[in-house]
Amino acid sequence: MSAVLFFIAAIGALVGAIGVVTLRSPFYSVLALVFHLISLAALFLLLRAEFVAAAQVVVYAGAVMVLYVFVVAYVGGGEELAAGTALRILGPLFALAVAIELCVAMLGSGLKGISSKGAPYIAGFGSPAHIGRLFLTKYLFVFEVASLLLLVAAIGAVVLARRRRGLEPYDEDFELAIHARRPAGTGTMAEGAGTRPAPTAAPQPEPQESAPPPPPEPEPVES
């Protein structure tokens, strides 16, 4: 039974991985990657690493890939990206290097495991409690460094998004433009929800007048 599941999941992982690099459409490529990640999660389950499997699906398939799909579905799909000549030469070289490295690693350590029965299953292995205990004792330093790295990445993302003209100022300009054309207290959804005060001193509506030209781009915020 476990052998059948293993081969289904392994073939799924391989097909997904091949699909990522061979499919032309970026959307299908991302979907192939999702398929690959879910197959990997099934392989983790077969190794009794329930927590890792769930984390794999929740974090990668359920969050990271969702953003990929989001972006690709909005902007991707049109023209095909033509790879430059440098990329055409370097790509296979890097792939070859990774393949050699993996072969060395596998031949060096994995071959010994084939003849033995493998590591025994210890009760509680791979459970969240077990993993949590290891994180806070044996691998505490690595765990903290990794969390620091994630924090830096999160702050960096916020800073970068802010430098590139966030949505807020533009939204306010847009709202102002709308205001100029609408009598005060006509009851928009924003007024009703209280997110924007009712325009008490709004300018008189001027029909047949186009909205004021959008103000110039605000200066990038120094952070």
């Binding site: 927590f51 769930a54 359920g62 953003l67 799909v69 989001f70 025994p120 459970s127």
Partner: protein, 340 residues
């Protein structure tokens, strides 16, 4: 896995697991049509009308008539759609919803035919993470359905679904972490047993409210049903679906509602436990759980009849600026209280 080191609590024979799976699925499958009538009749009462009352006694046969109507419709898809994805998407939606149902515990371990049978599909060590894993995959049902329809309404609905699901999943998860910290276990039956003294509704009230609000968004129910905002998007991601694939999406939506109600019952309302020290025999447990789930489902319908739909930016700013900080604060306070 022939290792002798492994120690599992107890192992149910394979036939019991299959029977359990069939019984739980059949029960949920039987409840779902009744739920649609229940929702429509309740909505009718809220809106000062009768609701469906023509087919069968009290209109109870209404879903049967509708299923026949949907099943006999001509299969149709737009020329711009992508055929096989268009067909796969409802399957993903149903599969993930039913898989998540397996986690809801309907009762304690019972002795039936000399076997120890847990009245739940599975009791995994990762607990709620299992539900979140399938919630993560269920996104692809919505996404593929909207994208492969080749229609702008569907696409926009799916995109809203994407943003909404990942925004509110975080708050929902953090609200549950408070319960998990208090109970000290991830197993859902363990969490129910930990509520013997007091249901977590009281010590984790903030978490309960946050979970409930986030659940509205996760299940695409009003007032967060922007995914299928019919005033602006016709029908959202299933605009182009008709016939049985459409039923599949509706089935998944109601099933998700049942799952969320089950998780809320387990996490906050003490699962199959009854207050005031009442200990009914074991076979009553599933009915207690279903009754508690019906409280949540009634509340879902009530809110749908009461609150108007939010605007999209309100949804996002509420999720990220109000709900997420609250959930984090709740988690921090809980952790401090538990440790100290």
């Amino acid at each position: 896995m022939s290792s002798s080191v492994a120690v599992v609590g107890f192992y149910e024979p394979w036939w019991i697991q299959i029977i359990k799976a069939l019984v739980i699925f059949a029960a949920a499958f039987a409840i779902l049509p009744i739920l649609t009538v229940y929702e429509r009749k309740l909505l009718g009462r809220f809106q000062n009308r009768y609701g469906p009352n023509r087919v069968g006694p009290f209109g109870l046969m209404q879903p049967l008539a509708e299923i026949v109507k949907f099943a006999t419709k001509e299969p149709f898809r737009p020329t711009t759609s992508i055929g096989y994805m268009f067909r796969i998407a409802p399957m993903i939606a149903i599969l993930t919803a039913v898989a998540a149902l397996a986690l809801v515990p309907f009762g304690d371990v019972q002795h039936i035919f000399g076997q120890r049978v847990g009245l739940y599909g599975i009791d995994v060590s990762i607990g709620p993470l299992y539900v979140f894993a399938f919630a993560g995959i269920s996104f692809y049902g919505i996404m593929l359905g909207g994208w492969s329809s080749g229609s702008k309404y569907s696409f926009l609905g799916a995109m809203r679904g994407a943003a909404q699901l990942i925004s509110y999943e975080v708050s929902q998860g953090l609200a549950l972490v408070g319960v998990v910290i208090t109970a000290g276990t991830l197993s859902l039956t363990g969490i129910v047993h930990a509520q013997r003294g007091m249901w977590y509704l009281i010590p984790q009230f903030a978490g309960f409210v946050i979970f409930l609000v986030a659940s509205f968004a996760e299940t695409n129910r009003a007032p967060f049903d922007l995914v299928e905002a019919d005033a602006e998007l016709v029908g959202g991601y299933f605009t182009e679906y008709g016939g049985t694939p459409f039923i599949a999406f509706m089935f998944a939506e109601y099933m998700n509602m049942i799952v969320v109600a089950g998780i809320a019952t387990t996490m906050f309302l003490g699962g199959w436990l009854l207050p005031f020290g009442i200990h009914p025999p074991g076979w009553v447990d599933p009915f207690v759980v279903v009754a508690k789930m019906m409280i949540f489902i009634t509340f879902f319908i009530w809110v749908r009849a009461t609150l108007p739909r939010l605007r999209y930016d309100q949804l996002m700013s509420f999720g990220w600026k109000a709900l997420l900080p609250l959930a984090t604060l709740n988690l921090l306070v809980t952790a401090i209280l538990v440790v100290s």
